[in-house]
C-alpha cells in the first residue's frame, strides 16, 4: 500500500504560477481552468512585513467530503495510491463535490462538463516521474513522496509539515510548511 502525498513548503513559494500552467498543460485543461489556486497573505507593517504565497490543490483527504457527497461514485478513493480521483465517465457534472470541498480545490471544467481536481499526475507517477507541478517548481516548494516510504528532501521536511486546517476534519494527505524557513547560521 502506498500513500502518495504532496508536501508544499509555502516559505519557499514565490507565487510564480509555473505549477499551475504545467498542471494545466499536463492535464489538458482549458486556458481558464486549473487544478491549483493560490492564496496570498501579508503580515506586519512597513518596513517589517512578510508575505506568503500558498498554492492549494486537492488535499486527497482520507475522509473526503467530495467522495461522500458524489451521487454516482465518480468521486472515489483509489485503494492503491490513496488518491482522490474522479472517473470522468461517471461524473455527471452536478458540482456537489465543488460545493462540498472545504479547501475549494475541486473545479468544474466547463468544456468537459465535469468536475475534477488534482490527480497528482497519476499517469506520470505510473512511469516513475514526478507530478508536473513538482518537477517544474523552481524553488523546491513542492515535493512529492510516499508517506509509507518517505525519501530524500520529502523525508527531510516531513517532520515540519502539517495538514492545512485540520479543523475541517477531512484528514487531508497533502502537507504544508507555513512558517518562514530559518537558514543555518
Amino acid at each position: 500500500m502506498r500513500k502518495y502525498a504532496l508536501l508544499v513548503d509555502s516559505s519557499r513559494c514565490i507565487g510564480c504560477f509555473a505549477c499551475l500552467v504545467a498542471c494545466q498543460n499536463q492535464n489538458e485543461l482549458a486556458d481558464d481552468s486549473s487544478f491549483i489556486r493560490f492564496e496570498e497573505q501579508e503580515s506586519g507593517q512597513f518596513p517589517n512585513v512578510k508575505f506568503m504565497m500558498t498554492p492549494l490543490q486537492c488535499m486527497h483527504c482520507a475522509a473526503a467530503p467530495c467522495v461522500a457527497i458524489c451521487p454516482t461514485g465518480a468521486s472515489a478513493k483509489d485503494p492503491e495510491t490513496g488518491l482522490t480521483l474522479v472517473d470522468r465517465g461517471k461524473c455527471i457534472g452536478c458540482r456537489r463535490c465543488v460545493a462540498a470541498c472545504p479547501y475549494n480545490a475541486r473545479f468544474y471544467l466547463k468544456d468537459a462538463g465535469i468536475a475534477q481536481g488534482c490527480n497528482l499526475c497519476l499517469s506520470l507517477l505510473k512511469t516513475g516521474q514526478e507530478p508536473a507541478c513538482v518537477s517544474t517548481c523552481l524553488t523546491g516548494a513542492r515535493l512529492f513522496g510516499d508517506l509509507e516510504d518517505p525519501k530524500g528532501d520529502f523525508a527531510k521536511r516531513l517532520p515540519k509539515a502539517k495538514p492545512l486546517r485540520p479543523d475541517f476534519r477531512t484528514k487531508p494527505t497533502a502537507l504544508y510548511i507555513l512558517q518562514a524557513q530559518e537558514g543555518p547560521k
Partner: protein, 727 residues
C-alpha cells in the same frame, strides 16, 4: 495562527466564466482533441523558450501534431529541467487568435489590408531604394530584440543597404548597466551566487524577472545560510529568500553605494592587494566618497544609517565571497538619470571587495568559440562607411554607447527631425515598451518606410507601413546559439509543429525575400543549415547532434583574470568618461523624479508570469492575471489611508502625459514614496484582442528622454498623483 486564515470559502475564484476555450478555435474542438490526444503518440522536439530573453532550453511535447506541453531541458544551465509559467505557456503563442496571418499593408484610411509576399517585398524594395537614392543609407535603421537568426541575416542585409545602425532593445532595458560595465570592467561579470556568503541585490529580482536556475540558486544559497539583502522600493517576490528587505527611495541606490564604499575604505575592509594590482583610480574614489557617510546617504535613501553600516560591514567581512549582484534594468539599467553612474559605483564597490574572478564574488562567464560562413565562398557585403543614425559611439553625440546596442527608442525623434527615413523592426515593441507611446507612434509615422516583423499585432506593428508575419518559435528552426556561463555551450531551437498559418514565414526567409527585391540575393546564396554548420564548426558539435539534444555543454579551460578596458584594469577612475565630459568617478547625482506628500514615483517591473507585454496576449497567462487581479497598482498602506483609498478601490493616476484608471492593491510591501505598477499590461493595440483593455501601461506616464552618457530611456523618472474615483 496563519493557517486559520485559509477559509472555507476563498475570496479568490479560479474559474472565470467569460474566457473562451482557446483550444477550440483551431480545426477541432477541445473535447474532440482531448479524445484523440489520449490515444496519441507523443514526440519531443528540442527548442529554446521564446517567453523572455533568458533562453531556457526546452522540450516541446507534440501530440497529434499539436503542442501538448513543454518541459525544461535538464542539461541546459538556464532551465536545469524547470520552466516558469511563461515557459509553459509561451509555446502556445502558436495558437493565439491575434497572430498576424499574412503580410499586411497600411491602407489610405490607416488600417491594414492583406498583400501577397511578392507584392510586399516588391513595394518595400521600391520604397527602400527611393530612400537610399534621396537620403542615403545613414537614414535607414534596424531595431530588434536580437536573436541568433535575426542577428546574422539582418547584419548582412543592413551591410548591403550600407547602414551601420543596427540596434538592440537595450536602451529601454539595460544600457546604463552595459555601458558602465564596458568602460569599468570591460565585460559583464555576474554574481557567483552558488558560493557567495553575502549578496546584495539592488532592484533585481530573480523571482519576478525569472530565470529558473537563478531562482533555484537563490533558494539554495539561502538554505546554505548566505546573507541575502534585497534593496528595492518594493518587497519583490525574491524577498521570500531574503535575510532582509531594505526599502529604498526610488532612484537613490547610488547614494547607498557611495556610502558603502566610504565605510569599506574608512574601516579598512577593502582588498588592498587587488586594488593595487587590478584597479586604477582608488585615490580619487577615496577623496570623492570622503563625505558620503551612511548618515548622509540615509537622508537621501531613507535607509537607516545602521542598516547601511551593517551592509557595508557584511560585504567587507565576507570578501571576497561577497558581492553586489550586477542587476539588470533597475536601478542601474534604464530607469533613472543616474543609472549609468549607479552601475559604475556598483562595479567599484565590487572592486574594493576584490571579488572579481573569485569564488562567491563576480565571475566572468565563459563563452563558446563559434564560427561563421567562409567569406571566400559566400561573399559578405562591404561594411558601411556612413555614420550611425543614432549617434552611438560618435564623439559629441553618444560616444560611450555601445554600437552593439545603439539607441532604438530615439529613432522616432530622429524621424521627426528628418534624419531617419526607413526603419525595420523585428520582434520588438518599442511603441508599447518605451516611454510616451504617442510620441513613438508620431515619430515612426514620420518615416517614409516602416516595416515590422512580428508574430502578433503589437502596438509597433500597428504603426507600420508593412507588417510581415513571422511564424512563432515552436513553428521554426533557428540558428544555433552560444551559451555563456560557468561553462560554455551551444543550444538550438528546432521546428516542433507545422505552420499554424500557412502564410507566415521564418525570419530568414523574410530577409531573403526583401534582399531579393533589393538586388542583394548574391549575399544570401546559402541555406540556413549551411550557416548553422558554419557556426558550430569550431565546437566539434554536429547539427544533427544538437538538433537531437537541444543543449550541448562544452569543455573550457578557466581563464586568467583580465579586464577588457583601455587600461586593462578596473577603471574606478574612468578616463573615457573624463574625456567626454562625464564625471570620471561616480559621485552623487539626484534622480529627476521625487515624490512629495501628494505624489508618488511611478516604479514598474516584471511579474513572474509576464515578459513586458508580449506575453499578456497568451490566454493561459492572461487568465491568471485576471483571476488574481495582477494589474493593480501597489500603494503603501499609510499613504493609502491618507488618501482615503482602500484595497480594491478604483483610482485615477495622472502625470502631465496621461491619466488612467486602475484598481489599487493596498500593501505594506512598497515604499511610501513609490507606487508600483506591474509592467506587463496595458496593451492598446485593438488587434491584440485578448490583452486589449486589461491593465495600464506605465510608459504612458513617462516623457521621452535620452540619458546623456549611454542613451537609455530613464523609464522610472516620473511622478504621478493618485486619487480615488467612484466605480
Amino acid at each position: 495562527m496563519l493557517e486559520k486564515s485559509f477559509s472555507r470559502r476563498m475570496s479568490l475564484k479560479t474559474s472565470a466564466a467569460t474566457v473562451a476555450v482557446a483550444g477550440s478555435m483551431e480545426t477541432f474542438s477541445f473535447g474532440e482533441w482531448l479524445k484523440k490526444a489520449e490515444a496519441a503518440e507523443v514526440t519531443t522536439v528540442a527548442s529554446i523558450c521564446g517567453g523572455c530573453s533568458a533562453w531556457c532550453g526546452m522540450w516541446i511535447h507534440v501530440k497529434n501534431g499539436r503542442i501538448w506541453k513543454v518541459s525544461g531541458q535538464k542539461d541546459n544551465p538556464t532551465s536545469k529541467g524547470k520552466l516558469c509559467a511563461r515557459g509553459h505557456a509561451s509555446a502556445f503563442w502558436a495558437y493565439t487568435k491575434d497572430r498576424i496571418t499574412s503580410p499586411m499593408r497600411r491602407t489610405k484610411d490607416n488600417w491594414f489590408e492583406p498583400v501577397s509576399w511578392e507584392q510586399a517585398y516588391a513595394e518595400i524594395g521600391v520604397k527602400l531604394k527611393k530612400v537610399l537614392a534621396e537620403h542615403g543609407p545613414q537614414t535607414v535603421f534596424f531595431s530588434q530584440n536580437a536573436k541568433p537568426t535575426s542577428r546574422f541575416y539582418m547584419q548582412r542585409f543592413m551591410d548591403a543597404v550600407g547602414s551601420p545602425t543596427i540596434q538592440s532593445h537595450h536602451s529601454i532595458c539595460s544600457t546604463g548597466r552595459d555601458v558602465a560595465c564596458k568602460w569599468t570592467t570591460g565585460s559583464m561579470a555576474t554574481a557567483d551566487i552558488g558560493k557567495t556568503k553575502y549578496i546584495l541585490f539592488l532592484g533585481r529580482s530573480y523571482a519576478d524577472g525569472i530565470s529558473p536556475s537563478a531562482t533555484g540558486n537563490l533558494a539554495e544559497t539561502r538554505d546554505k545560510g548566505t546573507t541575502v539583502v534585497i534593496v528595492d522600493p518594493r518587497q519583490n517576490s525574491s524577498c521570500a529568500f531574503a535575510t532582509e528587505w531594505v526599502p529604498i527611495r526610488p532612484g537613490t541606490d547610488l547614494a547607498l553605494l557611495l556610502a558603502i564604499a566610504s565605510v569599506l575604505i574608512k574601516e579598512d575592509l577593502c582588498d588592498k592587494a587587488f586594488i593595487e594590482e587590478y584597479t586604477v583610480g582608488f585615490d580619487e574614489l577615496q577623496k570623492a566618497v570622503r563625505d558620503c557617510s551612511p548618515e548622509w546617504a540615509s537622508e537621501l535613501t531613507t535607509i537607516p544609517p545602521e542598516t547601511i553600516y551593517s551592509i557595508a560591514r557584511g560585504l567587507g567581512k565576507n570578501r571576497p565571497a561577497s558581492c553586489i549582484e550586477q542587476g539588470y534594468k533597475a536601478p542601474n539599467g534604464a530607469n533613472y538619470a543616474n543609472g549609468t553612474q549607479t552601475f559604475r559605483a556598483l562595479a567599484c564597490v565590487n572592486a574594493l571587495l576584490g571579488n572579481y574572478g573569485r569564488d562567491g564574488g563576480m565571475k566572468f562567464p565563459l563563452s563558446p568559440k563559434l564560427g561563421t560562413l567562409d567569406s571566400k565562398v559566400y561573399p559578405a557585403p562591404p561594411k558601411p562607411k556612413v555614420p550611425r543614425c543614432d549617434g552611438a559611439g560618435i564623439k559629441g553625440e553618444y560616444p560611450l554607447c555601445q554600437t552593439s546596442q545603439g539607441i532604438p527608442h530615439m529613432m522616432p525623434k530622429k524621424a521627426m527631425e528628418g534624419k531617419a527615413k526607413a526603419g525595420f523592426i523585428y520582434s520588438f515593441n518599442p511603441v508599447r515598451n518605451a516611454p510616451d507611446p504617442e510620441f513613438m507612434v508620431k515619430g515612426y509615422r514620420a518615416l517614409d518606410l516602416m516595416v515590422v516583423c512580428d508574430i502578433q499585432w503589437s502596438e509597433t506593428a500597428m504603426a507600420a507601413d508593412y507588417v510581415l508575419p513571422e511564424c512563432s518559435f515552436a513553428e521554426r528552426e533557428d540558428l544555433p546559439t552560444g551559451i555563456s556561463g560557468s561553462a560554455p555551450g551551444v543550444g538550438m531551437r528546432c521546428q516542433a509543429i507545422n505552420l499554424v498559418h500557412s502564410d507566415t514565414k521564418p525570419f530568414e526567409d523574410i530577409v531573403a525575400g526583401m534582399a531579393q527585391a533589393m538586388g542583394f540575393e548574391k549575399y544570401f546564396s546559402f541555406s540556413r543549415d549551411q550557416v548553422s554548420e558554419a557556426i558550430l564548426a569550431p565546437t566539434g558539435v554536429t547539427l544533427e547532434e544538437l538538433r537531437s539534444k537541444g543543449t550541448i555543454m562544452l569543455k573550457a579551460a578557466p581563464q586568467a583574470l583580465s579586464f577588457d578596458t583601455p587600461s586593462k584594469k578596473v577603471e574606478i577612475y574612468c578616463q573615457a568618461f573624463a574625456d567626454n565630459g562625464f564625471s570620471p568617478i561616480p559621485v552623487w547625482e539626484a534622480p529627476i523624479a521625487k515624490a512629495d506628500r501628494n505624489s508618488f514615483v511611478l516604479i514598474h517591473g516584471k511579474q513572474g508570469i509576464m515578459s513586458h507585454t508580449a506575453t499578456a496576449n497568451i490566454p493561459k497567462l492572461l487568465s491568471i492575471a485576471k483571476t488574481y487581479n495582477m494589474d493593480r497598482i501597489w500603494i503603501n498602506g499609510k499613504r493609502a489611508r491618507q488618501l482615503g483609498i482602500r484595497d480594491g478601490d478604483l483610482v485615477e493616476i495622472s502625470s502631465p502625459l496621461a491619466t488612467r484608471r486602475i484598481r489599487v492593491k493596498v500593501t505594506e510591501r512598497v515604499h511610501p514614496e513609490a507606487a508600483f505598477l506591474p509592467a506587463g499590461y496595458g496593451n492598446t493595440s485593438p488587434l491584440l484582442k485578448s490583452a486589449f483593455g486589461f491593465g495600464v501601461n506605465p510608459n504612458e506616464f513617462t516623457p521621452h528622454r535620452v540619458e546623456p552618457i549611454g542613451g537609455h530611456a530613464m523609464m522610472m523618472e516620473v511622478v504621478i498623483t493618485v486619487r480615488k474615483v467612484a466605480d
